[in-house]
């Protein structure tokens, strides 16, 4: 700190800048005078000196800066000074807080609506899954039941061929009668007793027709040989003739 050139404060005050001047470190010789002029007009030299002497030296620089700021603000606005800035910032904070509250409320509503929508979709998805499982399970069970019945049909058929009089034959017949709806899936459809079927056979299967005629002729021969009669004339009822013969 030089003792020759006065500091800005002492220059403004037109006094000797002594060694250890409280203002010297903060108010330089070049632009310190103008800066100190504002401080002096608002606060006064003695008041600022008292303030600085009650502040630790490391913090005096910040104090001078804020004091200078307040002084300049008061010169710019003699009524409110830097308090006008505080009022404006307080209003800005209030408006921003209100805006933030509105945005947060809107976000909460949107989040709640989105959560409800997601939950609804989740429930629908679960229901669909359950429905698919039920459908798949029912179809699988039905298919398993058909397979079991098919195995039973095969077993009964085999039992019926080996022993027609066995009880299983009756069971097979009962199964046939009771499950005619699925019979067609596993068995050749039973032939209907339709006279037209015979004619159709004759028309479409000449070999079968020929074989049938041979059997018919052979039967005729047997009857005529046994009776010695022209039973051929009554060839339409060869069975009845044979039964009559047995009775006789």
């Amino acid at each position: 700190m030089s003792s020759g050139a006065p500091c800005g404060a002492c220059k403004f005050l037109r006094r000797k800048c002594v060694r250890g001047c409280v203002f010297a470190p903060y108010f330089g010789a070049e632009q310190g005078a103008a800066k100190f002029a504002a401080v002096h007009k608002i606060f006064g030299a003695s008041n600022v000196a008292k303030l600085l002497l009650h502040i630790p030296v490391p913090r005096r620089c910040d104090a001078v800066i804020t004091i200078s700021y307040e002084a300049q603000a008061r010169l710019s606005d003699p009524v409110y000074g830097c308090v006008a800035t505080i009022f404006a910032l307080q209003q800005q904070v209030s408006s921003l807080q209100a805006e933030l509250a509105m945005v947060q409320a809107a976000n909460r509503q949107a989040a709640a609506a989105a959560a409800a929508l997601v939950q609804q979709h989740h429930h629908q998805h679960l229901q669909q899954q359950l429905l698919i499982q039920q459908t798949t399970g029912a179809a699988g069970q039905q298919q398993q039941a058909h397979q079991v019945q098919q195995q039973q049909y095969v077993t009964e058929i085999a039992a019926g061929i080996s022993n027609p009089s066995s009880s299983s034959h009756g069971q097979f017949r009962s199964l046939m009668n009771t499950d005619q709806s699925n019979f067609h899936k596993f068995q050749i459809p039973p032939r209907h007793r339709d006279p037209r079927d015979h004619k159709q056979l004759q028309q479409h299967d000449p070999a079968a027709t020929q074989l049938q005629e041979h059997h018919h002729h052979h039967r005729h021969q047997i009857i005529s040989d046994h009776q010695g009669r022209s039973a051929a004339r009554d060839c339409r009822k060869p069975r009845e003739i044979m039964i009559r013969r047995k009775k006789n």
């Binding site: 007009k41 006064g44 009650h54 307040e70 009524v79 830097c82 910032l89 904070v93 921003l96 807080q97």
Partner: protein
């Protein structure tokens, strides 16, 4: 016992300077303002401080006097029209109170705090 009242009339009045002490003043009908009480001077009718420093708020003038000084306040008020003086005194009192509480930053600390709040709210938005 303290207490007292003012008697009506042209200019008579009683000012309470302390408990149990009464003074009869002929100049004004009002008690000395806080400034005059602090300065221990006669509070006249033309007292510039009287309208803005009521006697029930002694700390208000004490802080203003400590930071700005009585003469500076007088100069500032004299440069303003009547209808703006009350706001000016209140803002000066606010600054003085902030500076007494925080000698380093004064009301600039409040400005800095509010600026941070604004920035934080803007970021949240």
């Amino acid at each position: 016992p303290g207490g007292g009242g003012g008697d009506g009339g042209g200019g008579g009045g009683i000012s309470i300077l302390g408990p149990g002490l009464q003074h009869r003043k002929h100049a004004t009908s009002h008690s000395p303002c806080a400034a005059c009480k602090f300065l221990r001077r006669k509070c006249t009718a033309e007292c510039v401080f009287a309208p803005y420093f009521p006697p029930d708020q002694p700390h208000k003038f004490a802080n203003v006097h400590k930071i700005f000084g009585a003469s500076n306040i007088t100069k500032l008020l004299n440069e303003l029209p009547q209808h703006q003086r009350e706001d000016a005194v209140n803002s000066l009192a606010y600054e003085a109170d902030a500076r007494v509480k925080d000698p380093v930053y004064g009301c600039v600390g409040a400005i800095s705090l509010l600026q941070r709040q604004v920035a934080q709210l803007q970021n949240e938005l």
